[in-house]
Symmetry: C2
Subunit: 368 residues, 2 copies
């Protein structure tokens, strides 16, 4: 039933009450008019996802939402400064080396909150279950969520379950939303990157994407890799203890390090210069990527962060990260520069440079 080319429409008959497509009432300008259907790339976290937000969701939802969509928002409510974030999880398969959709659902939203410097506190949980999924599988996912929540120090406070007919889901989809308090004096967001900032990554990249690929049907390639799925709230607290003046934090999930760095470069109108040799790529990830024609910079991570840190604090922040179990292999991978604003450039091992583009669509569908 899968249609990776995205050229056919829905296979199910359209319900009677859904009107025929009518572009006349649609405010979205080109280029989405030329893409009349949703394709997998719109969920890939790259340029197509950004286009969907910019041309469809942001105009519909109104002004202030624009900045926050696709990321965590910082809002003030009842006198408290809160981070608020959501993610849906559709990873396939549900269980993979090093984790499950349940671990992802907790850690993904916890990390989105932590990337604004917030201390994650409460999660909501919405299940969309497919009729026929085995109850013990649901229980195992729920148990993984409970364990992950306790490990991250958050509470699952509210929830909802919907069931759809067999053939209209894929076992289990999970949405989580989360809230946490942003400490006073902390203002961490992509727009704060400035030339001179040092770019640090908290450890080896590409493990989550490679782990999921290694167990995909038809893609087994004999690599022993575990997902890096983990909650980063504690690591961020360690970094904030050094200085509250961290400029940017980002967890490079869908679209990998390349997408994260491109989004930051675009948001702050700065350039990012990466020393390609400095980026830690495990041998197993490199091997799998070579076999499949992938670039490790674009492969998803679920327990790593990239930080833009003022140069004067960089050594101390790096030392603090290395003293934390989830940052033991943290390294400096490059700098924020004034040249080529909006662009990420990698200096290759051979002394040349290459542009690291924002990925267009979906390199690895349904990775989270």
């Amino acid at each position: 039933m899968s249609d990776p080319t995205g050229t056919t429409g829905l296979t199910a008959p359209r319900p009677a009450a859904v009107p025929a497509p009518d572009f006349s009432g649609w405010t979205c300008p080109a280029p989405l008019r030329d893409q009349p259907c949703v394709v997998l790339g719109h969920g890939g976290g790259g340029a197509m996802s950004a286009e969907l937000v910019e041309h469809v969701f942001a105009p519909a939802f109104g002004g202030p939402a624009l900045a926050g969509l696709g990321d965590s928002a910082t809002v003030t409510l009842g006198g408290a400064r809160l981070a608020f974030s959501t993610d849906s999880f559709v990873v396939r398969p549900l269980f993979f080396p090093g984790g499950s959709i349940g671990d992802l659902a907790v850690n993904g939203t916890v990390n989105d909150l932590a990337m604004s410097g917030a201390r994650p506190a409460y999660l909501s949980c919405g299940f969309i279950l497919e009729e026929g999924v085995e109850m013990p599988v649901v229980a195992r996912v729920a148990e993984a969520m409970g364990r992950a929540a306790r490990a991250a120090g958050v509470e699952i406070a509210t929830g909802d379950t919907k069931v759809v007919e067999a053939g209209h889901g894929d076992g289990i989809y999970v949405n989580t939303a989360g809230i946490g308090v942003v400490p006073d004096g902390v203002d961490i967001r992509p727009q704060r990157a400035v030339p001179g900032d040092v770019v640090i990554v908290s450890g080896p990249i590409g493990l989550h994407g490679t782990a999921v690929l290694s167990v995909r049907e038809g893609l087994e390639f004999g690599v022993e890799v575990e997902s890096d799925c983990a909650a980063l709230g504690g690591l961020v607290e360690t970094m904030l203890d050094v200085t509250p003046d961290l400029h940017v934090l980002r967890d490079p999930t869908r679209g990998g390090l390349a997408a994260a760095l491109n989004e930051i470069a675009a948001a702050a109108s700065v350039g990012v210069a990466v020393q390609e040799r400095a980026v830690p790529v495990p041998a197993a990830v490199a091997g799998a990527c070579a076999m499949l024609g992938l670039d490790p910079l674009y492969v998803a991570n679920e327990g790593k962060l990239v930080a833009f840190v003022p140069r004067e604090h960089a050594d101390a922040v790096l030392a603090a990260m290395r003293a934390h179990p989830l940052g033991a292999e943290a390294v400096i991978i490059g700098d924020c520069v004034a040249e080529h604003p909006g662009m990420v450039v990698a200096r290759t091992g051979l002394g040349g440079t290459r542009v690291v583009d924002l990925p267009m669509g979906e390199q690895l569908p349904r990775i989270c």
Copy 2:
């Protein structure tokens, strides 16, 4: 591909990494062990949904979550007392008389917050799109969400989009989560119902369920009914202006008024006595229900609330409700009583009584 009996398993092959069902590691006791697969009823908001929460989710997630699951939770964060709630929306078809999945997604979560007395403030929005859904349909849903949010006075602050392959979704699923501030002195929850409380419903029941059914494929029955889908935050504020001492508010969605009253009766260990003739059932709803063999008490509403109000405030609260457009047809339908704790009893027009049970599973699948 639909399998309404729920007796077969998933139609798709199980991914290699999903382990075979293994009840030995499963903490859930009977009776769910005898229901090895998820069926539509588990998403119906009735007894089967409650069993799933009680036996699977609550033990996995841990203690404090139990009370909040399936409803809004009240949490204290950064010194603020907040309501936090989530719902996923899988209604079929996406558009129906009086609304769409977009209106439901905003109003459903706004109403969950309002039922704790909170002033709804911010929503998150997570889309799970099926590859192939027409982009103008996505845009129309987003526009409906934007309009509904502005009407309800809330801001969609953060979002996420995932895309699944054709045949693994049903056009558009939407999750929303929401946060709002609970005013000082307000403590509205099902446990606070006490004998002597007056039970008020804000208007005619059954309109949403009937409207959706009227356009379901194969179920057109020529009834002109519009969904009552609406945001109830303003009506609740009007009621709180009379007295902050409202005991219980509930929006009778899935499972209808019967499920809402049963949940309250069970939570507070009180009885509920309803005068059946006092319950406002529009003629079109009564006619559709008679034709389909449904009971209007079990049909979903999306813009109504039921309130348990101390007797001394009941007249003033009722008058305030009737002065609000969304409460113009509010009426007293019964009382909270000390007899038959945990049970809802209706006094019928003929002078008899009947027990109004908690629905078991799903009377009308995918109604919201």
